[in-house]
Symmetry: C2
Subunit: 361 residues, 2 copies
């Protein structure tokens, strides 16, 4: 990957690293061993450990905090949906089709397939002259337990609007309509929609992603690997896009406002992203991604955060993000999201998840 | 933990370790970094990495193969259900109540809540004068998707027989009945049933577990932490109990025969344990446990295996176990379980899980 930005790309500063573990681990034949960011306890013992890396970066690209290898490219997965939504707004498509906060939040969402999510996506598709059949994301059962029970209780099968990414895909279809592009095949990297998304990611991360490792996401769209430091920079720019050209600045402001106004649409009942955005009143715009990725934009602070749990565990990514937010005074130090309890099947508390004492968070 | 066995306890032999990573990592302030045992790929890149440790031990306690820290105590969780079933058989309870292969296999099982599992446990409970209400494991939805859809489609709620541990608990109740002990409270460490289970674990692992770190399992019973090397020794003794007193020998043979005869009861349709036991015709008696633990007894080889994925991921534990089985010629090198494919929601192959090239497996 080549740096095509005039700014200094974020680099992990060894003086700021909380642990010198990486340097030692790099000397071995094994992959770099990132530090333990989250551990799980059961009774008297730590049962499991999650390693990972994180970067907190300001809009100048300065690393405010980091641990682990922040230069290793990672697939950000759904954690960058707020960035992928920028072309939808920036192009004028959102305005042309009269999208409100709910739709724009859904474009940034990994929703749980609750009835409100599914109904909103379905209505949105109708408004742009499309239907669920135009979504190319595939179907899966709702991840919300009540929605799951309702769907299966009615002996129905899930359709593509139940897919947690259906709002993002509705946004892609809206952009295709607005640009006069064919809707079929909108998930392909060569399609005009994905090319606009790619261009946005390049300018927000400050990288030429033409040679970035690539793959296919769970919902069929391209994924491109980006170092955590650059992901954090992109989130900082979403938080404070003052150095971006004007249509970008307004688009970022619109997306931030929609996420803050409709936190339920970002995820769902009782979920981490919905709770944090709601409880911080939009001061922490957090977004989860598959395989242990989490990103955040902190508008008041002009900071971006990005983290990856090496093993891909979402449970650890949530606790690590909560810990980082507490460190930057966006959650109380005693907030339950920092040390969620583990229950057994009978409901008894048997352990917890937490950042380890003396660890980098 | 004190070694109370006359045999030499298994020790990781540095000369046999595949990587010297641990030694280096131990010099840091971080926890020991075990080697990467399994990686996931997506497109052109490794996306996530799972570290862990394993031990393969013979009945003399000799380490045949190992990697990572095999002395760190781990909760074996459900991976030692075949050991926990020993008192049920050894006491004569299984014979007294006329248990067949299906029931004994269920006592060793983490089943998927399929109708055959639930019906068999329910009938078994009736035979010992108990019912689902006597199970203290709690309830959860079936993990088999079809069984889940059938249950919710009938607008039913799960009961304790759907719990993946219900067969183990039915075994505990059977033992309580046979010993004339109260059935209520059978999950408590001080109850006669759990004391017998504890004594069996001590003699099979060769350890005094009185001071072992302990906690509560997902199904409510005690969990005690045991080093992987000792878990592997216990599985080797299950495979070949020639050095054990006679009632134990016969009990181990009965359990091995039941697991081999009823692999479906051990897990369920299409599941790893069921497939491996079935495809190897019982030459690899494998058992999964929560939080990334896997054990195996290899009767023909007189070997035991135990592994733990540090981060607790079951997906990685399966691939690591498949890799170890291939190394010991129990699965073909090209078997799909060694490198299961990852699909996206639309069904396309987007990556795979695999032991890394040059890694310790």
């Amino acid at each position: 990957m080549t740096d095509i930005d005039t700014q200094t790309p974020p680099q992990a500063d060894p003086a700021q690293a909380t642990s010198d573990h990486d340097t030692l681990a790099r000397a071995t034949s094994d992959h770099n061993a990132n530090p333990v960011l989250v551990e799980t306890t059961r009774g008297a013992m730590v049962e499991s450990r999650h390693r990972g890396a994180f970067a907190v970066v300001d809009v100048e690209g300065r690393v405010v905090a980091s641990a682990g290898d922040t230069e290793r490219p990672v697939y950000a997965r759904s954690a960058i949906k707020p960035l992928q939504a920028i072309p939808l707004v920036e192009s004028g498509a959102a305005e042309a089709f009269g999208l409100g906060d709910g739709e724009i939040a859904l474009a940034c969402a990994s929703h749980r397939g609750e009835p409100r999510h599914v109904a909103a996506v379905t209505a949105w598709l109708a408004r742009i002259g499309c239907s669920v059949a135009d979504l190319e994301c595939g179907a899966h059962l709702p991840t919300n337990e009540r929605a799951l029970a309702e769907l299966l209780g009615a002996r129905e099968t899930p359709h593509a609007a139940h897919n947690n990414c259906s709002g993002k895909h509705a946004g892609f279809l809206t952009l295709a309509r607005h640009l006069g592009l064919p809707t079929q095949g909108y998930i392909g990297l060569e399609h005009g929609v994905q090319q606009r998304v790619l261009g946005t990611l390049e300018s927000m991360t400050g990288l030429d992603l033409g040679a970035a490792p690539r793959g296919v996401d769970g919902c069929g769209i391209p994924v491109l690997a980006v170092p955590l430091g650059n992901l954090a920079l992109a989130m900082a720019r979403l938080a404070d896009p003052a150095d971006q050209p004007e249509p970008r600045q307004a688009a970022c402001a619109r997306i931030r406002a929609a996420m803050a106004a409709e936190p339920f649409m970002i995820s769902g009942t009782g979920q981490f992203c919905t709770r944090v955005i709601s409880e911080t009143a939009g001061r922490a715009l957090v977004k989860t991604g598959a395989e242990g990725v989490f990103c955040a934009a902190l508008p008041e602070r002009g900071l971006g955060m990005a983290l990856k749990i090496d093993d891909g565990a979402g449970r650890a990514a949530e606790v690590a993000m909560a810990g980082l937010l507490a460190r930057f005074d966006l959650l109380d130090a005693g907030h339950e999201l920092l040390a969620p309890r583990l229950h057994n099947r009978a409901g008894a508390v048997v352990g917890e998840l937490r950042p380890p004492a003396g660890g980098p968070i």
